[in-house]
Amino acid sequence: MIRPGKMIKLVLETLFKKPATTAYPFKKAVMPDKFRGKLVFYPGKCIGCKLCMRDCPSNAINIRKVGEKQFECDIDLGRCIYCAQCVDSCMKKALESTKEFELASLDREKLKVTFHGEPQKGAESKT
């Protein structure tokens, strides 16, 4: 049967329910475990094969040799498209995705991240 105001029952019921939206910046959003967010780099595992650099669709990653078997990794978060192909390409698992996704910045330079030492417990990075 055709009738106007078909949704009236549902909307009146929801009036007394908790809203489905959240007050986002005040209440943090949680991403699933295997989320492809900001990368972390483990210098100890890197062998400098540079496969990640070769496969990166947006040239966001750069591996630099700083000493004998020591490598540093520059990631431009502004260029990165978070496809995590580098994580797949890396044979030694020196790169890893994290759940971190709030990466916006007003300064372009702050988006360029360099990983120096071994990260402690997940992502620790110095810019």
Binding site: I2, G5, L10, F35, C83, A84, Q85
Partner: protein
């Protein structure tokens, strides 16, 4: 009444992407309608030629924000065809699963957009709330909400475990409930029917003549679905039917999309039940042997065609994309014949347009014809200012004011 020409776009609240339409109005009645494509051209086809196959997967995925999986699947299928790779069954099942989940999210999104275009924001809010269910599932399975990045040449990148399958089955149950409710709303709420039925009529013959694809064609009772006509992935093993409708109007397109949602739930249930064990991908060579292939994929919006030509190197020689909207955009002018201005947003929205998919490269060949010539950037700039001035839009005063303000 005097005829007026009003521009709809490139920037207009009814359009989610920049595209220009010119409408000749007599009062509220549309006399003429013309579309002008090209505001969203990003040169993706050319960029594909500059990158390796692996990089191209992620590039083609970004042709469209909504049917990202469709484009990357179509591309990957073409490359696998050239390289002669046999993708493992489990990989194909996962690819199909993500494709159907994407169809669900796209159709629910469309329902909300359609609601918004007819001023029914409540429908938008509710259908998008329920769309979050499938978005969460996609984020859980692939690691991202929109650009899933699940395809790779020779299979898929991520496996699915038993627990995730259980969650998918649960989500499908809730979504089926909600979809049935929306079918109820769309077929019974008076104001919605008033705005949808009889609007944007595209007859069966016109749909064939203009080459409509996807739900737009199926709502005109054209049984056209690549999943049945030319089965790819594992669609040949799955039981589903092609939803068609003979209303020929926007109402019919709504019914077709809602019916396809129910079919998608059916497909996903079968996948969850049937998914075999085994590897998810085979190793693909970096250099693809020379050859060419066309691959077809039924995106939520219709048939998506990719053509890839390989020349034996790491990079493709040519990639060509025919997105579904390009096939459907021709039908809009037919649908809008002698309609009211108020129908324009919903008729455009009813083909579920994706203009960033549609805009392709236009090459200007200097073959001695008058119209074909190359312009320098400065010339183009002055030309565009002149063009607008002739149309009666003059920015020079604004520019001067702006210059003063800067000083």
């Amino acid at each position: 009444m005097r005829k007026v020409i009003i521009p709809i776009g490139p920037q207009h609240p009814a359009l989610k992407e920049p595209e220009s339409f010119q409408v000749v109005l007599s009062g509220e009645r549309i006399m003429e309608f013309s579309a002008r494509l090209g505001y969203n051209h990003r040169g993706i086809e050319k960029a594909c030629e500059e990158r390796t196959y692996i990089q191209d997967i992620y590039l083609t995925e970004r042709i469209c924000g909504i049917c990202s999986h469709s484009h990357s699947s179509a591309f990957v299928q073409a490359v696998e065809d050239i390289a002669g790779l046999e993708v493992p069954k489990r990989g194909l099942y996962i690819r199909t699963l993500i494709g159907e989940l994407e169809r669900i999210h796209s159709h629910l999104l469309w329902l909300g957009v359609a609601g918004h275009e007819i001023g029914f924001d409540t429908l938008l809010m509710y259908s998008w709330r329920d769309r979050e269910v499938v978005m969460d599932i996609l984020a859980m399975l692939t690691g991202n909400r929109v650009n899933y990045g699940v395809n790779t040449i020779g299979g898929v990148r991520r496996d699915i475990d038993a627990d995730q399958l259980k969650q998918i089955a649960k989500a499908v149950d809730t979504l089926e409930d909600r979809t049935k409710y929306y079918i109820d709303i769309a077929t019974k709420e008076t104001t919605v029917i008033e705005r949808l039925s009889g609007v944007g009529v595209l007859s069966h013959d016109d749909a064939i003549r203009l080459g409509a694809v996807g739900p737009t064609a199926r709502a005109s009772n054209v049984k056209r679905d690549v999943r049945k006509d030319d089965p790819y992935a594992v669609y040949a093993e799955l039981d589903f039917k092609v939803v068609t409708d003979s209303h020929n109007d926007v109402y019919g397109r709504t019914i077709v999309r809602m019916g396809e949602l129910l079919e998608a739930y059916k497909i996903i249930r079968q996948i969850v039940k049937k998914i075999p064990d085994g590897p998810i991908a085979v190793k693909a060579p970096r250099k693809i042997p020379a050859g060419e292939a066309v691959s077809r994929y039924e995106a939520p919006r219709g048939e998506d065609v990719h053509y890839v030509k390989a020349n034996g190197t790491e990079k493709p020689e040519r990639v060509k994309v025919r997105a579904p909207t390009l096939a459907n955009i021709q039908t809009v002018a037919k649908m809008l014949e002698d309609r009211q201005l108020a129908d324009l947003p919903i008729v455009i929205a009813a083909i579920d347009p994706c203009f960033s998919c549609t805009d392709r490269m236009i090459s200007v060949r200097n073959d001695g014809q008058k119209r074909a010539n190359m312009m320098k950037w400065e010339d183009l700039h002055t030309y565009s200012i002149e063009w607008y001035r002739r149309k009666g839009i003059d920015f020079s005063k604004v520019n001067e004011k702006f210059k003063k303000a800067v000083k």
